[in-house]
Point group: C2
Chain length 192, copies 2
Amino acid sequence: MVYSNILKNLHKHISLTQEEEEYFLSLLKYQEVSKKDVVLHQGEVCKHLYFVNSGLLRAFFTGQETKEATIMFAMEDWWITDMHCFLQQSAAMVSIQAVEASTLLKLSKHDLDSLYSTVPAFERFFRILMQNAYVREQVRVLENLSLPAEVRYTNFMKKYPQIVQQVTQKQIASYLGITPEFLSAIRATKRL
Amino acid sequence: MVYSNILKNLHKHISLTQEEEEYFLSLLKYQEVSKKDVVLHQGEVCKHLYFVNSGLLRAFFTGQETKEATIMFAMEDWWITDMHCFLQQSAAMVSIQAVEASTLLKLSKHDLDSLYSTVPAFERFFRILMQNAYVREQVRVLENLSLPAEVRYTNFMKKYPQIVQQVTQKQIASYLGITPEFLSAIRATKRL
DNA sequence: CGTCTATTTGAATGTACTCAAAAGCGGTGG
DNA sequence: CCACCGCTTTTGAGTACATTCAAATAGACG
């Protein structure tokens, strides 16, 4: 059923009693989105934390002068939200959009807080999630600082081969922090 | 005494009983380091999580071909380690060095784990710490991707005015991902 | 089939880098 | 306390990486 993925995800890090599990599931809302649907609009209050049950989402920032920047992709079995704005319940700095038709399970801030107080194991679960997210972002900063675009592109393909299949080059370019034209040029040199 | 800063830091997010507090403090090791002392050497196992009681530390990566990259600065009241390698108890990818004479309180992985199991409030505390760290890194990625070096430098000075006083421009440049020469050029244009 | 967007290609430009050398500054030893 | 040494910062010339703009081609989707 719809909950098997998220339960498997939980069980990677914590174990729960039957009751706790049921309580957790009762807080989740299920949502289906089509390709290109925007789950969260930049500027609106970020109300939910999303678990990607199936499909693929993308979080991106669009500035006035600045080019669009892809903050993250979230594939099946990943969690995603605008974390800062979710925690503050403030206006989202990024938009989150479905790259392809996806099914989501979402949890509100209020429900997450009540989860923390009634089932302490979730403090542990999200600690581990946040830890991993922190480490991932730190590695990404390091790569952005120290590696040329070509190497970053190669690493991206190695690390996320599934994502490469599903998203456009334009989106990959905006994740790597380069223009689509330049990514195209990089690919051209590799073909020789 | 030496523990007042770290207790204040804890109390920002959790409250503890007398006993819990004493247990926590009993796990900490105190360390004094002089300017330029290396607290953690790249390549050696990262055994501790450090709380900066006073002073300023810097984490940086040195590659063979790549220029040195500063991962983070940690000033008074901050926590720092090579998080990935600390969690895995594996070889550190970065070095951590004292920018100036500093006093540290350190916690081993083993002791942190026992802290988690005996005092669950610490799951919450470090969840919040990791959350904040994640959000900080994500903002940094976004700025690196979307803003030119000059703006990143201005933002850095606004965000961390104290750090700017204490570190060299070379170190700031390596945090921003530019060469010292180019940072110097940026500063020159601002003086006109 | 036609429209819309993504991708490629190319030329001109700009941003940031390398290398080299001079100037500034801080610390250390005589 | 001053002189020297080493490192940081500045300056400048030449270069490389990446961008902008424009136009052609290719793909996706209704």
